[in-house]
């Protein structure tokens, strides 16, 4: 049996021919039961035909959708539909999706981070020095604005009060250590090379 060649013929096959063959197979089976089992084999050929048509159609549909998807994505990229301007913010859905994907990505990788005790004045003293040196320029600090250049970054660098309150320490460590691609958040490089 030929694989259906184009989408219209597939539709015809799955909605018209396959049900017709199924009905014929059903009638054949009923008939066979009345007359005894020796004619069942010929009915099974009909059933196989119907199943094959459905499988072919499903395959052809998936292939057509995949092709349309590839062409769609290529067209979206090549026509420059996506606006990369940092003077415009993301729309709500894009913002939500990207932010959520970022959080899931961090969570999926931060399991192995060993969190030491975070108490102790010495650790905080060294932390605030490093924060002033490397972080407040973009993220600001209590009562301190980010540097003017940081106001132009998109996505906008978040105020760290909220992750400080809500994020587990290992997730925060992971982001400081590895950074976030396609944002201005850099990964930390070792200070002494």
């Amino acid at each position: 049996m030929a694989v259906c060649q184009w989408y219209g013929s597939c539709t015809l096959e799955i909605f018209v021919i396959a049900p017709a063959i199924s009905m014929r197979a059903g009638a054949c089976a009923l008939d066979a039961r009345k007359r005894g089992l020796h004619r069942m084999a010929s009915c099974q050929v009909d059933v196989m035909k119907a199943v094959l048509i459905v499988l072919e159609t499903a395959f052809a549909t998936l292939a057509a959708l995949l092709l349309a998807g590839v062409i769609g994505v290529a067209g979206f990229v090549y026509a420059g539909v996506y606006d990369v301007a940092a003077t415009k913010h993301h729309n709500g859905l894009t913002h939500y999706l990207l932010h959520y994907a970022m959080q899931r990505s961090v969570k999926a990788r931060s399991d192995t981070v060993h969190v030491p005790t975070l108490d102790g004045r010495a650790r905080l003293d060294s932390g605030i020095a490093l924060y002033r040196q490397h972080c407040s320029q973009c993220h600001g600090a209590p009562g301190v604005a980010p540097e003017p250049f940081a106001l132009g970054l998109r996505p906008a660098p978040v105020n760290l009060l909220e992750p400080g309150r809500d994020w587990p320490a290992r997730d925060i460590y992971w982001v400081i250590r590895h950074g976030i691609k396609m944002t201005a958040m850099p990964g930390a490089i070792p200070a002494e090379r």
Binding site: H89, G92, H95, A145, E162
Partner: protein, 136 residues
Amino acid sequence: MAFVKQLPMISPQEYQNWKPAPPESAEQQVVLAASPARSPIGNADAGLRAIYQYMCVTCHTIPGTVNGTPNVGPSLDGIASRRYIGGVLLNTPDNMVRWLSNPQAVDPMSGMPNLGLREQDARDIAAYLYTLKDSK
């Protein structure tokens, strides 16, 4: 942009030793006329753009903007109907512009920093904020 286009032709030595040409004449400098008296609040549409520009949305949840629901400063939903600004200033248009322009000068205890707003931006942001009436 002009300089970036020239960049491939400039050697490291030329870059190091680049001296600006002397100015041709001082007449090109534009003298700004004294600004006329303005109403205390400006344009709400410009204000919405300025709200992104000064990253207000990284701390405040502001209706009509996209940035999740940060909970660092208070939500500004219904700010137009509130009695006080920052808990310290009576909510009048003049005070709003004053607060936005430099909150630290009004209340050094506030966590809200001085973001260096231009006066017109402060007026425009105030105009947008006064569209956020109490929804209840």
